[in-house]
Symmetry: C2
Subunit: 166 residues, 2 copies
DNA sequence: AGAGATGAGTTGGAAAGACAGACCCAAAAA
DNA sequence: TTTTTGGGTCTGTCTTTCCAACTCATCTCT
């Protein structure tokens, strides 16, 4: 993104997140990274993205701390072999899983394909399916229809700050 | 989006969702709609988006069934007053709340601003805060680190189908 | 009644981003 | 030795975005 929203919206966490992952291919690259793909070739083959754009996106995600670029030696790595890189999710990147989960769930529910869900999320401890939901302080699920936004402390702090400038 | 991903990826629900809401301003418009904004002017003033793009985005979201365009009469609606429209979330649109919630939560956690969270999500029944999480069949929260993707039935059905074509 | 102001756009031109495909270089495989 | 593979860069075209100016019908103020 990196439009002016970044400074006109320092206050909105959604806008800040979109500045990191809102570009056209970013979320699909991150999805692939969750599926275990790591190399340039794997991303290109999977996405059919043009190589210049892929280069740009990978570099941007590395810069943003979502992916980590790691050297590796293909084929076991002889002594003088050329350095190659692959891309792995960082901690911040792995925390995007709920974003992907929410997108997946909405797509399966509201834009189904003819075959049924092609990927499901499971609890690795039990092997049983999981879903994305709002959860209250007591740990109980809250129906999405009963969730609403309220202004938080940061809004009032920011408002007091900027009002002082006027 | 509306690149070829739509047909190369009929199989991926995330790609299908991004075809609906992946354009540059779409999610911020939807965020504003959740905040209660409805008119062209409210969106423009809030986002600072250029008007031609706003027109295009609103029309696209209406076409996708995320927003509904409703006529209203300004100033109470005299007899021959010009028709005006505003935009409201549809049912499908309202179901995007978890997507926004996940983006909000990631931004607050990993890209904090100097003031603290400027908006918080609450249960309208209790007024208490809620958060986004993965939940198992038993209704208990599952740690994101213990969630993984598996291929679903749709993947195998699709694969059998396309293998038959070869 | 006339002079702005307002809401919801349309139009035109410049800049940025995406796309497709050709090309490149080093190492590994045949 | 030739070919293939991985990871790109470079070009040229096409699409999207951005910015600013303009429109047009109503509403408001004087």
């Amino acid at each position: 993104m990196s439009r002016k929203a970044a400074d006109s919206d320092p206050i909105c966490a959604i806008a800040r997140t979109l500045d990191v992952i809102g570009e056209r291919w970013s979320l699909l690259i991150i999805r692939d990274a969750f599926y275990g793909r790591t190399t340039f070739k794997e991303f290109r083959d999977s996405l059919g993205i043009s190589t210049d754009v892929l280069t740009a996106r990978l570099n941007a995600l590395v810069e943003q701390g979502i992916l980590e670029r790691r050297p590796y030696r293909p084929g076991g790595g002889g002594r003088g072999s050329r350095e190659r890189f692959d891309y792995h999710l960082t901690h911040d990147g792995r925390q995007l899983r709920p974003v992907l989960g929410a997108l997946l769930q909405w797509g399966n529910a509201h834009r189904p394909n003819d075959y049924g869900p092609s990927s499901v999320l499971v609890d690795t401890n039990t092997g049983r399916p999981v879903h994305i939901a709002f959860v209250g302080e007591d740990g109980n699920e809250v129906d999405t229809a009963h969730v609403d936004s309220e202004l938080g402390p940061g809004y009032y702090a920011w408002k007091a700050q900027t009002a002082a400038v006027d």
